[in-house]
Amino acid sequence: MDVLRESNWVLSVGTFLPLVGVIVMLFIPKADEQLHKLVALVTALATLGVGFFTLTQFDFDQAGKLQFFAETEWIKVISSNYTIGLDGMSLPLYFLSMVVTVLVMVYSWNHIPSPGNAKAFLILMLILQTGMAGTFVAQDLILFFVFFELVLLPMYFMIGVWGGEDRQYASLKFFLYTMFGSALMLVGFIALFYQARGVLPEGVEPSFSIPQLAEYGGLIGRSAQIWIFGGMFIGFAVKVPMFPFHTWLPDAHTQAPTQGSVILAAILLKLGTYGFVRIAIPILPEAAKEWAPWIGLLAVIGIIYGALGCLAQTDMKRLIAFSSVAHMGFVMLGISTLTPMGFNAAIFGMVAHGLITGMLFFVAGSVKDRYHTLEIARLGGMLKQMPRLGWILGFCAMASLGLPGLAGFWGEFPAILSAYSPAAGLSEVTFRVYMVIAALGTVLAAAYLLWLFQRIAFGEPKPEFAGESHDDHGHGEHSHDDHGSDIHDVNIFEWIAWTPFLLAIVVFGVYPQLMFKIIDPAVQVALKAFGG
């Protein structure tokens, strides 16, 4: 079966299936929480099933081409179509989003944050899933924009309703930031459309289709390209987030409920970087070359800056949030080199960061459940009270600081590597300086993560919690305590939700080719314009 054209219903189903679940849940009374959880979980699982089917049908030998390609008329008058397709660059993220949703659902089974109301919470999550999946398959700028925006509101409410003390400020900030970016991005898209219309050869129908624009976008005049790229840059950079636009991230992450943080870290941040590799750079190569040094600069600033931010934190979750700034810095550095190696690193980095940081936020959430605080100063000796949780934290910290053999390394190392020789036309000296700074960033990463690990996991438990440990290390996960203290080791739901993450981190770390094989061809296609 030729997946390039046939069975193109798969993606649509995979994208919109969650909405079916939403409709079902709308008719279930609010009180019946268990049923809601069940329906939501089943929906998510069904979606994941479709995802697996996609995986089996995907033609890995042609990973460079768009597969399951579907194009139907959507908004004729503005010549925007419902165009969807999947290639090696989007497949990992598309699939990751489905997995993450399922696992978050599992985690939510007994972790519905206050103030309760599972119905609304799960519905929002399903809507999020649709938005995320849709963004990764959309091959039409307008469609992309719609999905890109679709994730905003659910996340806004997830933070604002189920978040921490300062949730309202954080949620509004998150929203306004992203909105600002995407407004300018939309202007950029439309301007791009009209600019491209001018340079299309005879007989080519102007449209918002990404592949078409990627083919002819290079013909657009240089200055116009630079301006349009600027618009898109702000849109995506806010989402990434890159250095000057990052301040929404720590607040949003810190205030969001665990599930929110996980989805935010695992998928939402990737929408921005994905926008760069899928839209901005392939379509506007000239402008990309102009901007690359500046993007790289902001990226390395972000690396160091995020690391410093981490060292200054007293709150575990906020620290992890800042670490995202640093890690996305590595991703952006890889992208800014405009080389296949850099792009591969970037996309691998996206997935790896999604898994690792998502996992870290899970751990942070569980710590909060146990100790009811995330003050690093008040924590300590976790390895004594909850050996499993402690070691998982250690594992994630190691993965996050880019230890070879774990997924994080393959996002970090090739990115640094690629900075040594950027694409033709970019100043080598500049990027070599960036490389050194980035390498320094890896050291700082080790510093703040181990420091965190030492202060939280090592040593003796603080007196205020010391009394509460009632299970000697060993069979922690069975100790569901209905009486008294909350300090108990990883429970069964957490195991179910986390094991896939941990496995994935190891597997991709040990055999990265699993992903590189899919990404690489697509990346080379995307970088045609650079002779990559």
Binding site: V146, F157, G160, R167, L172, L176, M179, F180, A183, I190
Partner: protein
């Protein structure tokens, strides 16, 4: 003898296409009918007038549809002074449906407020009739007449709650400023007539010499004429009546004013610009550019500071008006005319849907909260999830968040501006983009109240919403969502609405 006299007078009655003016006729008949019914029904039966009004509106919709499907797509009466083309039909339909929704909104509100129902609905119908006429007027006189016909009932409706000081104030402010504005407009019109020796727009369009070479009188005339409608669409700085009037007037009336009469103003603006002054873009483009820019900005900034939801909606509708003006500001450059007109129509349709829906929810909610303060909506989601979600949908749509109707409206506006291109176009686009962000500042604050704040004074009894309101919400919500998900639906109307008919005789 008589024959000879008739022979001397060069008068022959014009051939009237009654199918074309059927909607107006039905409305007129409806007005009379309701006055009569009102006379002969007891106080307890007054609700009949309400339902009758609804039927009249829908009845008037029938000929609109038949006209739409009939194969003659341009019917021009009274040698071009009154044209029924697709543009006109689209907007007539819009006005009638909006009017119907307003009736739905009014029903309980008016009943419980024991106002004078018969008169209320009569005036409502009269105003709608004025708008319907406005949609096909292509002559200064007819435009003026229909403008007054839709305004004067508006003045009275605004002051409808006779014993309420605020309502009086709203009415008198609206009235004085409205009359003043139309007086200025008339002065401009008189000058127009003077320089072109015609009141027929298409003639004026021809007479106003080719761009660039005309004197100050024309500029003055055009500006003054536009002022009258800039007032109707409450464009800054001609907006000052809007907040006060909206706040003071009864909620359904506010809905009506903020949607229908604003739309009528835009219709007149569009016909004037496209048919009347196609050559004179050097005059009206800068004028409208400035109006659009400051309208959306000032509207947003002031809205940020409001604590009363109606007043905030007033400012929000002002800034939305700025967005509708945005494409008109560049309608004269390049081939932006088509997209600009399209985006105006689309925006009007979508805006009508979401704003009416918003007011429907506010009316329903304020039945329990009994207050216009934003803070009184705290925790709405917790005790009235349905209303909470609906309000969120409309707010999001107003903020222009996909996939709700609002975004496609904004999108077409941006598209038109960027189609025109040029520094002015891009600058306006950027301003619009920034404003769309600021706008979320206050839309979001309402959402925050609904979702994230506890209910004030622990009011958590479930809200009981009357069926008419529910009907209104269903209509508006469906429209909002459908327009957003399948924009083709609404954009088709925008496409139909070209003004070709205006020039045809």
């Amino acid at each position: 003898m008589l024959h000879s006299i008739l022979a001397q007078i060069p008068w022959k009655s014009p051939s009237v296409d009654y199918h074309a003016i059927a909607p107006e006729i039905i409305l007129a008949g409806g007005i009379c009918l309701i006055i009569l019914v009102d006379l002969f029904t007891s106080e307890t039966k007054k609700w009949i007038t309400a339902s009758l009004t609804g039927f009249v509106m829908l009845g008037a919709l029938v000929p609109v549809l038949t006209l739409a499907v009939s194969d003659i797509n341009v019917r021009s009466l009274f040698d071009g002074r009154y044209v029924v083309d697709e543009f006109a039909l689209t907007l007539k339909a819009l006005f009638l449906i909006a009017g119907y929704v307003v009736v739905l909104l009014s029903q309980n509100h008016v009943e419980e407020g024991d106002y004078y129902q018969g008169e209320y609905y009569t005036l409502l119908l009269a105003s709608v009739a004025g708008m319907v006429m406005m949609a096909s007027s292509r002559d200064l006189v007819s435009i003026f007449v229909s403008l007054e016909m839709l305004s004067i009932p508006g003045y009275m409706l605004a002051a409808w709650r006779k014993r309420d000081r605020k309502s009086n104030e709203a009415g008198i402010k609206y009235y004085l400023l409205g009359v003043f504005a139309s007086a200025i407009m008339l002065y401009g019109m008189s000058l127009l007539y003077g320089v072109t020796n015609s009141t027929l727009l298409s003639d004026i369009g021809r007479e106003l010499t080719v761009k660039g070479q005309f004197g100050g009188v024309q500029a003055l005339a055009i500006t003054f004429t536009l002022v009258g409608f800039a007032f109707k669409v409450s464009a800054v700085p001609f907006h000052s009546w809007a907040p006060d009037t909206y706040e003071g007037a009864p909620l359904p009336v506010t809905a009506f004013l903020s949607v229908a009469s604003k739309a009528a103003g835009f219709v007149a603006l569009v016909t004037l610009i496209y048919v009347g002054f196609p050559q004179a873009q050097d005059v009206w483009q800068p004028f409208l550019w400035v109006l659009a820019a400051i309208t959306m900005t000032v509207g947003n900034l002031l809205a940020l500071r409001q604590t009363n939801i109606v007043r905030m909606l007033a400012y929000s509708s002002i800034s939305q008006g700025g967005f509708i003006l945005m494409p008109l500001a560049v309608a004269g450059t390049g081939d932006a005319a088509g997209p600009a007109l399209q985006s105006v129509v689309v925006y009007l349709i979508v805006y009508a849907a979401m704003n009416l829906g918003m007011f429907a929810v506010v009316i329903a909610a304020s039945r329990t909260t009994r207050s216009g303060e934003i803070s009184s909506f705290g925790g709405l989601f917790s005790y009235a999830p349905g209303l909470g979600v609906l309000m969120t949908i409309f707010l999001a749509s107003l903020a222009g968040i996909p996939p709700l109707g609002g975004w496609i409206a904004k999108f077409t506006a941006f598209r038109a501006v960027l189609e025109a291109g040029g520094n002015w176009g891009y600058a306006l686009a950027i301003i619009g983009a920034v404003n769309s962000v600021i706008a979320f500042g206050y839309y979001g604050s309402i959402m925050r109240e609904i979702w994230m704040r506890p209910a004030p004074n622990g009011e958590t009894s479930a809200v009981k919403t009357p069926s008419s309101l529910i009907a209104a919400m269903v209509i508006t919500t469906t429209a909002t969502i459908v327009f957003g998900v399948l924009p083709g639906a609404v954009l088709r109307f925008g496409d139909l609405a070209d003004l070709t008919g205006a020039f045809g005789r």
